[in-house]
Symmetry: C2
Subunit: 340 residues, 2 copies
Amino acid sequence: MPELRKDPIIGRWVIISVERAKRPDDFAKENGGPPEGECPFCEGREGNTPPEIYAIRKFGTKKNSSGWDVRVVPSKAPFLRIEGDLGRRGKGVYDVMNGIGAHEIVIETPQHISNLADLNEEQIAKVLTCFVERTKDLEKDSRFKYVLVFKNYGWSAGGGRFKHSRTQLIATPVTPKRVKEELIGARHYYDIHERCIFCDLIKQEIEEQSRMVLDIDGFITIVPFASRFPFEMWILPKKHSCDFYNLSFENNLDLARIIKKTLLKLKKGLNDPPFNLILHTAPFKRKKTGYWKTIQEDYHWHIEIMPRLTRVAGFEWGTGFYICPIPPENAAKYLKEIEV
Amino acid sequence: MPELRKDPIIGRWVIISVERAKRPDDFAKENGGPPEGECPFCEGREGNTPPEIYAIRKFGTKKNSSGWDVRVVPSKAPFLRIEGDLGRRGKGVYDVMNGIGAHEIVIETPQHISNLADLNEEQIAKVLTCFVERTKDLEKDSRFKYVLVFKNYGWSAGGGRFKHSRTQLIATPVTPKRVKEELIGARHYYDIHERCIFCDLIKQEIEEQSRMVLDIDGFITIVPFASRFPFEMWILPKKHSCDFYNLSFENNLDLARIIKKTLLKLKKGLNDPPFNLILHTAPFKRKKTGYWKTIQEDYHWHIEIMPRLTRVAGFEWGTGFYICPIPPENAAKYLKEIEV
């Protein structure tokens, strides 16, 4: 019997289609993409990107030259522009504003390595440090409400022509809809229970174990109960925290470790599939308003990883109704058993 | 300057990325899919599908034999099962219910034609009649709240191995999230303005003309102001109506005409791209509750058509934040000029 499961945070129903269940090796393979050419993100080609905004560099090396570990540059084809004001306005029944924002690229390694999973833990920790530092800087700009940190790995996940491992940061003047829904859902739960819904969910996952993939130091990796995609995974800090950007240096290393292991499981277990990785954390401006006081208690940052193994059945776009062709418990069992 | 536009109904922001604007012939082509084999949906192969639930047939022909115009059969691999009760239950913090529902296939022509655009208007009107008749029948089942009517055309839009033109009907025991958001958004607008938001939007589109593609009889085709996808189109009845299933026979033919012309524009103008088509109408159970009285005034049925021309940049899944690489006004101008 298929099951309908509800995402407890935003209330989205998902069909867990056990009848159509596939084995992990039934899933589609990556499409490839165009030929790569000379990569502008490799060490020694710093002149081929816009000038760097931030970098973690070896002592004594110069900006926009070799000798860096992680490097942040503006996007060459930004979705949003940094200069100008928001100009919020109405057009009859419609709302519109200028496309103000920042669009930055975190180049995660000086070598031409494509998968974050293949970097060492210290290197991944440096990448996380860049997320923190850049976001703290962008937060100073009063026009921005949110920074989206996301990775498109592989051509069919929206990755670019060059396979060099990198993550995108987009600062937006609005809170993205899905983030807002999570905030509202978490708030609603807190209003009733006076507990964080993510903390309750973590507790239940640790007790049940059936969707648990990894439990290391202060973090867990689970396959979510109402998975939208086969082998979807979430990484959550076990201790309550609304704000990714308060990561301590120690936690940073622990998080790097679980990210590496989670992505290695994906790579080894599912033949290096394309995936998207997205960081969900509390929005900006929170400290300046009364909102901050409650959001500290009701929201819980986490990372969502969505492998792109199936064609997207189109109606999911238009309905918000997802069909997952493998039960999350089976996906978790499979991933748990992959040695990394 | 790129623009941020807000969908006035559900409040989703979209980046209209003019800087990255592409010409219509820059968009990706269909991927193909596996070889087809002998099609089970063609006339004369009725034994290869499950027995029919409903059909429009030539007078005197027998069930499950030749002589039909449109034929409805259960899906061979249903997402949901028709037998059983809902069994709604909690699992700690989670909600779950049995995967009860109906999953039917409307075979739109006895010939092996793949694109609905290539059927004649009378045939398309018969297809619409099947949507109405099947939905009215499914509505009698008190377990169901909604019928999703959607078409996946082309392999990369989630279409099946056999290219024979067909539409899927899924009856669900829950209202899909996106439909619910629309209902809530429309209600909210009505509470303030005492007018239907769709009616206001239609009025504005007719006045502005810049996003209008077709205006025939009682229907219009527009490119929506906050398009998520390049060349997205909506078909709306100009006269207020919440319920697709109240279509009169005359309107049925008019709707068939505008659907045909809209899809022909897509086919001719964009090299027969894959697309999804989804019908949005008011949910069931509405007549039985006080809700029906207001929904009649605040909701407005429509059809959404989403061509699949771009790889889906992954973070859109996780954030509900879309980037459309062509301004809706340019898309509308291009589509308007395609002769059909």
